[in-house]
Subunit: 299 residues, 4 copies
C-alpha cells in the first residue's frame, strides 16, 4: 500500500525491439517493475505500454527516470510517423479532480463516497454545479461547491451569450486547479468546442446509454420506447463530436417489459455509477491511452 | 415432464376484473393452473396473461377449454378498442419449426444440439440454406436440407427477379409445414415485405449486434471501429422495417482493446447462440406477446 | 409516483382456485390492481402472491381491504396445514429502518445516498455503530448515530457478558422504532439467538461472498487463496445458523490472477452495495416471502 | 490467420530484469512479437510470461528459438528456488485432444461444433464414453468413439477392480495420442490418483457448480435446496483432491424461485458449455500457467 510508485506510460509507432529497449534501460537502472502491460495494435501499427516502478529502486527517483525515458523515447521516434508520447507520473500525490454536476446526485455521491472510504485516491478540489441542489452533498464531504447558473437551452443569441459566459466562469473555476480529470458527472450541458479542445484527454463524461445506442437526450425513454432488454451506460472522453468520444468503459443492466421508463432510469443509475467510477479510476491510474479514436485500457 | 399441458394466452384492453373473470371461469372448470403470469401495460392500457393448465384437470380437454376461453374473451371485448387476442395451445405436440441458414454454422449447430439433447422441444421439419455448406450438419441430425441458391445482392432487375424466385421457393418449402416459427439462423438475406407480412409474429431473426447499435451490415466491424467495450446480439421478430422488429431477447459479452474484429466475431457467436436459443424457446412456449411494437416476455 | 398504494401479500397451502378466490373478492370491491405476481411451489405445495392495489379504488381504503383479505384468508386455511399468512400494508408511509454498522463505510454511504436521491423510500431512524468512525456519514444525512462499543471477540465470560450488554443496548435502540428492517450493513458482529428470533424476517445481512462459498471470516482472502475467477456477495435474512439464512439476492464480479486479496475486497464492495440495495428494496416493497428456508422474490 | 506462430511460455522465480533478459535476446534474434503478457505474483515471488512470435521473423524457426530460450532460462535459475519452466510450441499444428464423456451430450456437442466451424483449433483424436449413447454425435463429426463400460460406483472389491481395469483401457486409448488435453466433458467418473498424476496439467474437468460451492454430486439439486440466486460452472485442472484443482474459468447464470432443480440444470448447461470452451481454448493456446495451486490465465 505504502509503496511509492512511479507510473511510466509510453506509446509510439510499433516495431521490433521496443520492449527490449525500454526494459533494458529500466533493468540497467535497477528499476523494480511491479506492474507491466503492453499492447500492440497491429492494424494501426501503434504500440502502447504502462509500467509501474517502485520509486525506491530508482536512484534519483522520478527525475532520473524522466531523463532515462526521454532518451528511450527519442530512440523510438520514427521519421514521418506519429510522435512518441510518454510520461512519468509520481503517484505519491493523489491527482486533482474537478467535478461538474447538475441536479442528479447519484454519480457525485458515489464518487465522494469512494474518496471518503479511501477506495479512490483523488483530490476533489471543487464541485461546480449549474444548480444549487447538490451543494449540501459536496459540502458534507468538505469540498467547495460553486454554483454557476446556465441559461435555458434556447438557441437565440442571448442564450448563447449567456452560456458562453457561464462556461467561461466554469473554465476559470476548473483551470485554477490544473486538474488531471474534469468529470462531467451527469452535467447535462454540452461543452463548447474550445473547452473540448483545451481539456482533450482530461474531460470525462458519463452518458446514460450504451453508446452508440440512444445518443442524445432522454436515452432511457428512447430505450423504453424501443423495448430493449438491457440498458447501459458509457464513460467516454469528451470531444466536440457529441457522444462520439473515445469510450473508456461500458456496462449494462437487464430490464424487462415490466419496467417503466422510470424503472429503467433507476436501474440505469447503478450502471452509471459503476461505469463512471471504473472509467475514472482507470484514467487516474494512467491505464487509458487513446489512439485513432479508440482507447487502450489496461486492466 | 410428462404432464400434458395446455397453454392459454390472452391479451386485451386493460380494465378492472380481468384476472377474476379468467380465473373464476378456470376455477369453475376445476382447471389446475401450474404457471400463471400477468402483465398490465398501464401506459398502453393493455393487459396480457399466460396460464399453463394441467390438461388432466379439464374434463373435455383442449376443446372444452377453447370454448370457455372464447366466452371469456367475448366478455372482454371493448367497443372501439383493439380486439382481444387469445389462444389455447395443446403442448402435447412439439411445435414445428423451419430454419433458414446461410454459411455460418454456429446457430444451426447449437439449435440442433439442443433438440438432440432433449432440451428444446421442437420438431425441425427442414433446413433451407442459400449455400450447400451446412447440409452435412442438418443431415447428421436427420433433418432434410434444401439448397435454394440466391443471386447476388445487386440491385438490377435480373438480381431482383432471381431473388423473388428464390424466395418463392423458400416460401413453398416453409409453408408446407405451417411452422410455429421460421428461424433466420444467420440467414443473411432480407425477407421480402410479403413474407414479413405472411410470417408476422412467426419469423424470428438473430441480429449480431446489440440493437439499435450497429444495425445493418458487418456489425462487429462497426463495433470494433467504434471501440465499444461490449458486443451483443438481438433476437427479434422480423418486420418489413429491417432490424427494427420487436425485440425478444438481448445479451452482451465483454471485449477489450486487444480484441480484433475477428475476435469480436468469435466472442459474439456465443452470445448469438444463447440469445437465439432463449428467444426461440420463449416464443415456442408462448411466453412472448407483442403490443405496440414491444414484447412482453414472461419468464 | 403519487398513487396511494396498498400492498397485499398472502401465502397459503396450494390448491385450485386460490387466485380466483382472491381476485374475485378484489374485483367485487372494485379494486384496481396495478401489479400482481403469483408463485406456486408445486414441490412444497405452497402458494404465494403479491398484489398492489390503488387505494383510491377501494372505498374505505386499507381498513376495508384488511377485512376482506381476512375473510379470504380464513377461507384458504387448510386443517392441519401451515397457517395462511397475509398482510395489507399502506405504502403511503415509507417503512422505518435501522442500520447497524461497524467501520466499513461503503454500504452505509450507498444506502444513505439512495435515500437522499429519492430512489429508495425508507425512513432511516437510526444508525448504530460499534465504532465511532461512521458517525459523520450518518449525521451528514441527518440521521442520529449511536455508538455502542463491543468487547473483543474473546470467548471468556467477561467478553460474553460485555457482548450481551452491548446487544441489549442495541436492541433497545432498534426496538423503539419498531422497524420494518434491521440492516446489518457490514456490522461484523454475530447477533444473539434471541435477537435472531425477535427480528426474524426483518434482520437483513450482507455477506461478502457468494454463499455458500466462503462462509465465515475473511471471505475475500479465502477466495484469493482458492483462485476463484468471480467474487460475490449475498443478501440474506439473519438466522441463528450463521450465514445460512434464506437468500434474498446475490451477484458476482469478475476477478483474475492479477487481483490481490485487497483488489478483490475493492471489487467486491461494489457488488455488496448493489446486492444489499436490491435485496433491501425488495424486502421493503414486500416482494420477498420465505417458505421452507427459501425465498420467493417477486421482481 | 495464416501467420505461422511460435508460442513461448516461461515462468520462474521473480526478480528484476527478467523481461529485459527475455526481450533483449528475442530482439537480438529479430523476433517479431505479436502478443506479450507478463505477470508477477509478488506475494509468491513468481514470474510468468507468454509471448507469441511470428515464426517467419526467426531464422531457423522453432529449433533456434528453443536453443535461445534454453539459454535464457538457464540464466534465470535461482539456486534453491523452484526450477524455471519454459516451452516453445509450434502452433502450426493444432493440438491433439481426447474427450471423455458419459451420457450428457451438451459439452461434447458444443466442442465438436466449434471444431466444425473452425472456431476452436484442435485435433480431436478420440471420444471415449462409459456409455454408448454419444457415439452418433462423435461419429457424425468423423471422430472415433470408444465405449469403455464402467462398473457401478459400489465400493466393494469387485467394483474397484472393474474400475481399475476400465481406467487402464481408457488410459491406453488416451495415451496413444499423447494429447495436449484430456477433457472430462461431463465424464462423471473420478480419475484414479495415478491418472491424475500422469495427466497433471493436461486433464481438464468441467464441474457443474461455482466451486467451492456445491462440490460433489448433484450440485444443481444442492443449489436449488439452498435457494441460491445464481448457478455456475467451473473449469479446472484435475487433481487427486476431487473438485479442488486449480481453477481455469468460471461463470454463472441467474436463476430465481420459479426455477425447479431441472430448470437449473438446463440453465447451467449453457454456462458449462461456455466455461469449458473458454477454459479449454485458454489451455490449448498456452495461456494458462499454474503456480501454488492457482492459475494465471492470460487473456
Amino acid at each position: 500500500m505504502a509503496t511509492h510508485r512511479l507510473v511510466v506510460t509510453l506509446s509510439c509507432p510499433d516495431r521490433t525491439g521496443i520492449v527490449a529497449a525500454i526494459t533494458g534501460r529500466l533493468a540497467a537502472l535497477g528499476a523494480s517493475i511491479t506492474e507491466a502491460a503492453y499492447h500492440a495494435d497491429t492494424e494501426a501499427g501503434w504500440f502502447v505500454t504502462r509500467q509501474v516502478v517502485d520509486a525506491a529502486s530508482v536512484p534519483g527517483g522520478a527525475d532520473v527516470l524522466r531523463v532515462v525515458m526521454g532518451q528511450v523515447a527519442a530512440g523510438l521516434e520514427v521519421p514521418g510517423g506519429d510522435p512518441v508520447r510518454w510520461q512519468v507520473r509520481d503517484a505519491a500525490e493523489p491527482p486533482r479532480v474537478v467535478l461538474l454536476v447538475s441536479k442528479e446526485s447519484h454519480c457525485l455521491h458515489d464518487l465522494l463516497g469512494r474518496v471518503w472510504g479511501g477506495e479512490l485516491e483523488m483530490d476533489v478540489r471543487a464541485v461546480v454545479g449549474n444548480h444549487e441542489v447538490l451543494r449540501p452533498l459536496a459540502e458534507a464531504h468538505g469540498v467547495p461547491f460553486h454554483h454557476v447558473p446556465f441559461p435555458s437551452r434556447a438557441e437565440d443569441d442571448e442564450a448563447r451569450t449567456g452560456r458562453d459566459a457561464a462556461f467561461a466562469t466554469v473554465a476559470g473555476l476548473v483551470d485554477e486547479h490544473d486538474p488531471a480529470a474534469i468529470v462531467l458527472a451527469r452535467f447535462m450541458q454540452v461543452l463548447t468546442p474550445e473547452l473540448c479542445d483545451r481539456w482533450a484527454g482530461r474531460a470525462i463524461n458519463i452518458h446514460h446509454s450504451f453508446l452508440p445506442s440512444f445518443a442524445g437526450a432522454r436515452p432511457y425513454h428512447q430505450a423504453h420506447a424501443r423495448g430493449v432488454k438491457l440498458v447501459g451506460a458509457t464513460c467516454h472522453y469528451v470531444t466536440a463530436d457529441l457522444d462520439a468520444g473515445p469510450i473508456i468503459e461500458q456496462d449494462v443492466s437487464r430490464v424487462d417489459h415490466a419496467d417503466t421508463a422510470e424503472d429503467m432510469v433507476r436501474r440505469g443509475r447503478d450502471v452509471e455509477k459503476l461505469v463512471l467510477a471504473r472509467g475514472l479510476r482507470a484514467h487516474l491510474e494512467d491505464r487509458v491511452q487513446v489512439h485513432a479514436g479508440r482507447t487502450v485500457v489496461f486492466r
